[in-house]
């Protein structure tokens, strides 16, 4: 086991798969010579050469479109969309072309492609560079959607995404790039469609994603001091969704809280809450409560951004209040 940062783990996951499969190619803006604006792809150009690791013009529609055409014809491309907010500039490619083409053609084409993107807030970039947009992707049939919370998962899930025969949107939380953790040496793969119980709990279940996972874990620590035994489930794979693990925990505890970085309406938390309200209704002992950013664009100033996003304090207070 090596200690890697999240950004190093991303590069390691890509390198593992590029080493293994010569059909894996990687393109994006400033990803090659500069190693990515978040330095998550440093060293790949040197290792795999300029044919397989390429800088593109600023043209997200061309980037994703090219990856799609290549995936249809034998490559396994990885593309980087620098900030997830920029997915909006190529959303037709993602949501209408990549997601639907296998289905519309009756399965004639496969689209083994990965779109990696830096996601989320906490970096004072303002409303056009800080969105958490995994729910946009989750709402579109035909896309698989991953968002790791640890360096080990960053490597293992990214490698599995590259090997997956379907299109995957891979969300890398910007606020996690600098975090470090143990990452298995050698080949490492984590299966899509599996949630992880990061902390078992008796009294309630907190379901969280990406950067909200460490916050939920800290909140659970503090709640245990208040005699509330809160469990934490790391969703990590929104599509496919491991409802078995999530609902299993909810059935045990009878209380469900979700912690989302995205704004209030129509997030993945609403989806999971709705599933639970349908399928675990009889096991529920109280309201399902979602903790989210309010339904506003994210403000830029540090004090505003910090207060808008779900914080450990907010999680603790919300759970405490609801469990009374």
């Amino acid at each position: 086991m090596a200690q890697l940062t999240f950004r190093e783990a991303v590069a390691a996951g890509i390198a593992q798969e590029m080493e293994r499969d010569p059909l894996v190619y990687f393109i994006g803006e400033d990803v090659a010579a500069a190693g990515g604006v978040f330095k998550a792809t440093v060293g790949l150009l040197e290792r795999f050469g300029p044919e397989r690791v390429r800088d593109t013009p600023i043209s997200e529609q061309a980037i994703v479109g090219a990856a799609m055409g290549a995936a249809m014809t034998g490559l396994r491309p990885i593309v980087e969309i620098m900030f997830s907010d920029f997915l909006a500039t190529c959303w037709d490619m993602v949501a209408n072309q990549v997601a639907k083409t296998r289905y519309m053609t009756g399965g004639q084409v496969s689209l083994p492609l990965v779109i990696r993107t830096a996601n989320g807030g906490g970096t004072r970039f303002g409303a056009q560079h800080s969105q958490s947009l995994e729910n946009w992707a989750m709402a579109v049939p035909g896309l698989k959607v991953l968002a790791p919370s640890t360096p080990a998962d960053a490597k293992g899930l990214l490698a599995a995404a590259i090997r997956d025969p379907d299109p995957v949107l891979f969300f890398e939380q910007k606020s996690l790039y600098g975090t470090a953790g143990e990452v298995p040496d050698g080949e490492h793969l984590e299966p899509l469609g599996t949630a992880v119980i990061r902390r078992p709990g008796r009294d309630c279940t907190i379901v969280a994603l990406a950067a909200m996972v460490p916050k939920a874990l800290t909140a659970a620590d503090r709640l245990s001091g208040l005699d509330i035994d809160a469990g934490v489930v790391d969703v990590r794979s929104l599509v496919p969704l491991d409802t078995r693990t999530i609902l299993g925990e909810v059935r045990k505890t009878g209380r469900l809280f979700t912690v989302e970085e995205n704004p209030r309406l129509c997030g993945w938390g609403a989806e999971i809450a709705s599933i639970a309200a349908d399928e675990c209704f009889d096991d529920l002992d109280g309201p399902i409560v979602r903790i989210t950013t309010p339904h506003v664009p994210l403000p830029a100033a540090d004090v505003l951004e910090d207060a808008a996003m779900p914080s450990v304090d907010r999680i603790v207070n919300t759970v405490k209040g609801a469990m009374r």
Partner: protein, 335 residues
């Protein structure tokens, strides 16, 4: 800029007969599709390319078997020109189980990957970058394949046109972009919304390309153009952007009577019907009626047969609804 109208290269007789046969097949197929629509058998929309057959046919004949075609919702001809099953296409229009995509795509999305027909795309401009991606793949796999991407005049004003052209040139991709300038978008004339007279050719220089403006209703010219552009792509000399002037005989989609077009204009273009014109040229070139008449009747028979097969097909199967979202064949998103 002036358009070329004669064929300098002396295309051989058998190629010319192949061009003629393909044009007649596309014409007959689409006329039949229109009749079936009038019988209320085509439930969805459809966009016919009657009058534009020379372009699809010429490229169809000029392409190598493993080359890639990317086209639009107006793509019956481009798909069939690659050798895709006529019955499969017709059945898809009728929403039958034996349709090319089992009824899941419909007229606007005809695709036959086994024949290099990589899809018909219904969002204007989307397939230009996708076609560039297939060319990129061919380039790095060193397969020698060429990607040919067809689109309309109206498509030249959307952003993907610009992004795809720039990327293709910068990466020197083996691709041919073919703008079929049929003068209209849906109901609006292209000249009323475009900054230049020739929406593709006048923009070639913005990508360091030569302007290529040709008569899209002349099968010989189109064939020469295709051979040259494909050859350039195949030999590593990079992309071309072709603007082919043409006209659709009917409306934009199945229900459009196309009254927005001046009568004289329609009349003039009907006089330049690519199929009729080519037939006359072949006769003038000494190919006799005895060689052409069987082609005409074989095409009719082929369309009859395809129609019959399509009509025999059962309605699309309900299991298809949840099939083929994923590579495992299903659509499961949870455990």
């Amino acid at each position: 800029m002036s358009t070329r109208t004669t064929t300098p290269s002396g295309i051989d007789r058998s190629t010319r007969l192949r061009l003629y046969r393909l044009m007649v097949e596309l014409r007959d197929f689409e006329q039949r599709a229109y009749e079936l629509f009038l019988e209320n058998l085509v439930r969805g929309t459809s966009h016919l390319a009657l009058g534009q057959e020379a372009i699809a046919a010429a490229f169809g004949v000029a392409m190598r078997e493993d080359d890639y075609t990317f086209c639009t919702y107006r793509g019956h001809g481009h798909t069939l020109a690659r050798g895709a099953s006529m019955a499969g296409a017709m059945a898809e229009l009728l929403g039958r189980a034996n349709g090319m995509m089992h009824g899941k795509g419909g007229s606007m999305h005809l695709t036959d990957v086994t024949h290099g027909a990589m899809g018909s795309y219904a969002i204007v401009g989307a397939h230009l970058p996708i076609a560039a991606g297939a060319a990129w793949s061919a380039q790095v796999r060193r397969s020698g394949q060429v990607s040919v991407c067809f689109f309309g005049d109206g498509t030249t004003n959307i952003g993907t046109f610009h992004e795809a052209l720039n990327l293709a040139v910068v990466w020197r991709l083996p691709i041919v972009f073919v703008c079929e300038n049929n003068q209209y978008m849906e109901y609006t004339p292209i000249r009323s919304v475009t900054a230049v007279e020739h929406p593709a050719a006048d923009r070639a220089s913005a990508y360091g390309l030569e302007p290529i403006l040709v008569d899209g209703n002349d099968a010989d010219v189109m064939y020469d153009t295709a051979v040259k552009a494909i050859g350039q792509a195949r030999t590593g000399k990079g992309p071309s952007l072709v603007e082919a002037l043409t006209y659709r005989h009917g409306g934009h989609s199945r229900a459009d009577p196309a009254r927005y077009r001046p009568e004289a204009e329609v009349r003039e273009w009907l006089g330049r019907d690519p199929v009729q014109r080519y037939r006359e040229r072949l006769l003038a070139a000494g190919i006799d009626e005895g060689a052409l008449a069987p082609i005409d009747s074989e095409a009719q028979a082929k369309v009859d047969q395809a129609t019959e097969e399509a009509r025999q097909g059962p309605p699309a199967a309900l299991e298809e609804i949840e099939a083929q979202v994923w590579a495992d064949g299903g659509s499961t998103w949870r455990n």
